[in-house]
């Protein structure tokens, strides 16, 4: 039978990556070697080893064998779960992950690292036996301790005589003598003689579930002793068995006719590694990660339910239209039904939309899970004591958001560990517990996902940040900033506040990149900090990237959409608040702030700049800490809009974040407030 193993490889890789993640989590939680935890870790390694061997990744299987052996000894209490052992196992997990990635992507894992970790594990095991040399796990071989050298070939015997006397309970393990004889028969010409002398004399002693018979079998042909032995492999300890060459002295006891002589060679029985991943075609390239995702089956079921309801509603609407055609006189009643039907349709559509959206939502645990390891490693390197607490790991975020969240979060958590939490002695001197706390929490608030990174470390020194910012020319010598504003300066490019630049973080690049990444996801990040008490970073992200709440507005005869989240307020101008400076954008004074007024129609080149009417309608919007006041002609409704990128459908248009299709089929541009602010400041002299 030829079966292409490649079709199972993706599933194997996916579950192996999950297994590695599990191993890592449990290893980090392994306090002193709890047996149940060790069992779980062992099982993960065990599955990877077995699967790797089966699916053609012999080297991975061989590597895992050593890991498994070490874990086996740990769970049996033969080896201590010392920190260095746990660290070695964590390193082995990394190495395995790299090997599996290489297997998936058709690349090569770092052979030196693999060999080194392997050697370390072997050294840890303290003997030479564990990891098998060839990279493949031990193969099936003949039976131990039995002479397998003599065969029926080479002028040997013309067959075998087998004395087979099962013990009474042989059949209770599901072994069936008849079936075994049938297998023997495939090896040559078989004659069977049944010995009934063990049958009990009286019926009371006869247990039909016991085996009371014995057999002498003669197999003629060129089967080897190994082949014959194999047939009895499973029952060796449940029978008396003697296999001797047919030429030996003992006389054949009977001439029982052969059953059905049909000699056939049994297939080769040595394990043969299946075809490796070479035949996997395109499935192995990079990006496999992002092209597929696991979806909770419940979500799919809900979706199917909803489609079912949609179909019902559709047939109801069809029915109404038919009724109307047949009997227009009942218009009134039918219109009532039509309204109900449309209401139903609206509800179905909304639910369907929510359902479909939820498919893209994945628990943030997928990102959070990497942090216990990270904190463990860094705090070990730095000699700090840190306890990391994860909260709200099951908060769901859009898959794309999550994929882009990893790097910024790593940076922020590193910062908290590296710069936030003090050395144990320093903490003790400050009257704090020696173990620092870092908390990573996610939750939903409004239409946003909020992620907080908190530490109880030394906090930020606002004076020092301000001094650095002045040095770097980010803040003018006479510019006054409040504490909150000063703290937000850490997100400016080129501002590092670490006393020492360490290996881990803080080279003055990073926080600005973090902010840029979060902005790119349509979110924002804020810092709060109190000296001596710690810091808190708050990241706010939209639930999804493809749908947003928008405010529709009219400029000239065009409809535009701006993200509701960007709107600060809408107002009618008071003439005395408008400041007009020559060659500059007019400014609007809103409380203590001057905000540039942007004439969108002119900005987009629709009309010539026109003077501001006495009582104009302004929408004040904010993005990237910049505010602009947009001149609009009318405010329309608010609604959820589906964002379509212009780049893929048309081309990039400055000042827009995309487009959407309105209910009446009209296309409306979605304004990019940050972009407009940039355009406006670049066109100062020409606008207005």
């Amino acid at each position: 039978m030829s079966i292409d193993m490649a079709q199972f490889i993706d599933a194997f890789l996916e579950e192996s990556f999950e297994g590695l993640e599990r191993m890592e989590t449990e290893l980090l939680a392994l306090d002193g070697g709890d047996p149940e935890t060790l069992n779980t870790i062992f099982r993960c390694a065990h599955s990877i080893k077995g699967g790797a061997g089966t699916f053609g990744f012999g080297a991975i299987s061989g590597f895992t064998h050593g890991v498994e052996t070490l874990l086996d000894r740990m769970r049996n209490g033969e080896q201590e779960a010392a920190p260095e052992t746990v660290n070695l196992l964590l390193r082995a997990v990394d190495t395995l992950r790299a090997q599996l990635h290489a297997a998936r992507d058709g690349g090569e894992a770092d052979a030196a690292e693999v060999a080194e970790v392997r050697t370390l594990i072997e050294a840890h095991l303290g003997d030479a036996a564990p990891a098998s040399e060839a990279g493949t796990p031990p193969a099936v071989d003949g039976d131990d301790g039995i002479d397998t050298s003599s065969g029926a070939h080479d002028g040997g015997p013309r067959g075998w005589r087998i004395h087979f006397q099962p013990y009474a309970d042989l059949m209770r393990t599901g072994n069936d003598p008849l079936r075994m004889f049938e297998v023997l028969e495939e090896l040559g010409t078989l004659s069977v003689h049944c010995e009934t002398d063990r049958l009990p004399d009286n019926a009371d002693a006869f247990d039909p579930e016991d085996c009371h018979l014995a057999w002498t079998l003669e197999l003629e042909g060129d089967a080897t002793r190994d082949q014959v032995q194999e047939v009895f492999e499973w029952v060796e300890d449940e029978c008396d068995l003697l296999i001797e060459p047919l030429d030996a002295d003992s006389e054949p006891t009977t001439e029982a006719p052969p059953l059905t002589p049909e000699p056939a060679e049994m297939g080769a029985t040595t394990p043969r590694p299946p075809e490796a991943s070479a035949a996997r075609g395109g499935s192995g390239n990079r990006g496999a990660e992002s092209s597929s995702m696991r979806v909770n089956a419940g979500k799919i079921d809900a979706l199917i339910d909803m489609v079912g309801e949609l179909v019902i509603t559709q047939s109801m609407l069809t029915d109404i239209s038919e009724q109307l055609e047949e009997d227009p006189s009942k218009m009134e009643a039918q219109i009532e039904r039509l309204r109900t039907g449309l209401g139903e349709l609206e509800r179905n559509t909304r639910e369907l939309q929510e359902s479909v959206m939820s498919i893209r939502m994945v628990p943030i645990a997928q990102v959070f899970n990497r942090f216990p390891r990270l904190v463990h490693d860094i705090s070990g390197q730095l000699g700090k004591q840190i306890e990391l607490t994860l909260k709200g790991e099951y908060t769901e975020v859009d898959k794309t958001v999550m994929e882009h969240l990893g790097d910024p979060l790593v940076h922020l958590v590193r910062n908290a560990v590296d710069h936030g939490i003090e050395m144990p002695e320093e903490r003790a001197a400050a009257g704090k517990p020696e173990t620092g706390q870092v908390t990573l929490e996610a939750f939903h608030r409004g239409g946003n996902v909020v992620i907080e990174i908190r530490d109880d470390g030394k906090g930020m020194d606002a004076d020092r940040i301000l001094a650095k910012a002045r040095d770097a020319g980010l803040v003018g010598p006479n510019q006054h900033l409040d504490r909150h504003e000063i703290l937000q300066l850490v997100f400016e490019p080129g501002l590092s506040t670490a006393d020492q630049v360490s290996d881990l973080s803080g080279r003055g690049v990073g926080m600005d990149v973090v902010k840029k990444n979060i902005r790119g996801l349509g979110g924002n990040v804020e810092l709060e900090s109190e000296p001596g008490k710690g810091s808190r970073l708050t990241i706010r992200l939209p639930l999804t990237l493809s749908i947003m709440d928008g405010q529709l507005l009219k400029i000239g005869d065009e409809t535009f959409v701006i993200p509701l989240i960007a709107i600060v307020e809408s107002l009618q101008t008071l003439p005395e608040s408008v400041k007009q400076a020559f060659g500059k954008l007019p400014l609007y004074r809103l409380r203590d702030e001057y905000i540039p007024i942007v004439d969108l129609a002119a900005l987009f080149g629709r009309t010539e700049p026109s003077p501001l009417p006495e009582r104009a309608l302004l929408v004040v919007a904010e993005a990237d800490d910049q505010r602009v006041a947009l001149r609009v002609d009318d405010l329309l409704g608010q609604q959820q809009v589906v964002i379509k990128t212009l780049e893929t459908n048309f081309r990039k248009v400055p000042g827009t974040a995309g487009a959407t299709i309105l209910g009446d089929g009209q296309v409306a541009l979605i304004l990019d407030i940050a972009g407009i602010a940039r355009m406006a400041s670049g066109r100062d002299t020409r606008a207005a």
């Binding site: 077995g50 089966t54 796990p137 059949m171 393990t173 599901g174 069936d176 049994m266 394990p271």
Partner: protein
């Protein structure tokens, strides 16, 4: 055609074993672990059980012991999948009441050879 219960906590192994059996014309019931396997076994009488050993919830050896207690499975062939070729592990399986074993790694041909030793 026989009805085969395949129990393994690894989905890829289970798929591979199940696919191979189906290709050979057998009907397959799948169990995710020992516990699940036991309830599937009770739901439908299988002609052959193939089970992994190391599994959460209930391991393959315990599953074998539990199955042997059921009237329906007293004489049913049960094959355990093991990664150990050593006699010790094999004996554990036998002691629990398994018919035989299949040592990982194996390929579909080897598996069917073994399956054919116990299935009629």
């Amino acid at each position: 055609m026989a009805k085969v219960l395949v129990v393994d906590d690894s989905a890829s192994m289970r798929q591979m074993v199940a696919f191979t059996l189906k290709q050979a014309g057998h009907e397959v019931i799948e169990g995710r672990d020992g516990k699940d396997g036991l309830s599937k076994a009770q739901g439908a009488k299988a002609d052959l059980v193939i089970t992994d050993v190391n599994m959460p919830a209930m391991d393959g050896l315990q599953l074998t012991r539990e199955l042997r207690k059921l009237g329906d499975y007293k004489f049913t062939p049960i094959l355990v999948l093991t990664t150990e070729a050593g006699p010790e592990k094999k004996q554990e399986g036998k002691a629990a009441g398994a018919t035989g074993w299949l040592v990982k790694p194996f390929d579909p041909d080897q598996m069917m050879n073994t399956v054919n030793r116990v299935l009629r």
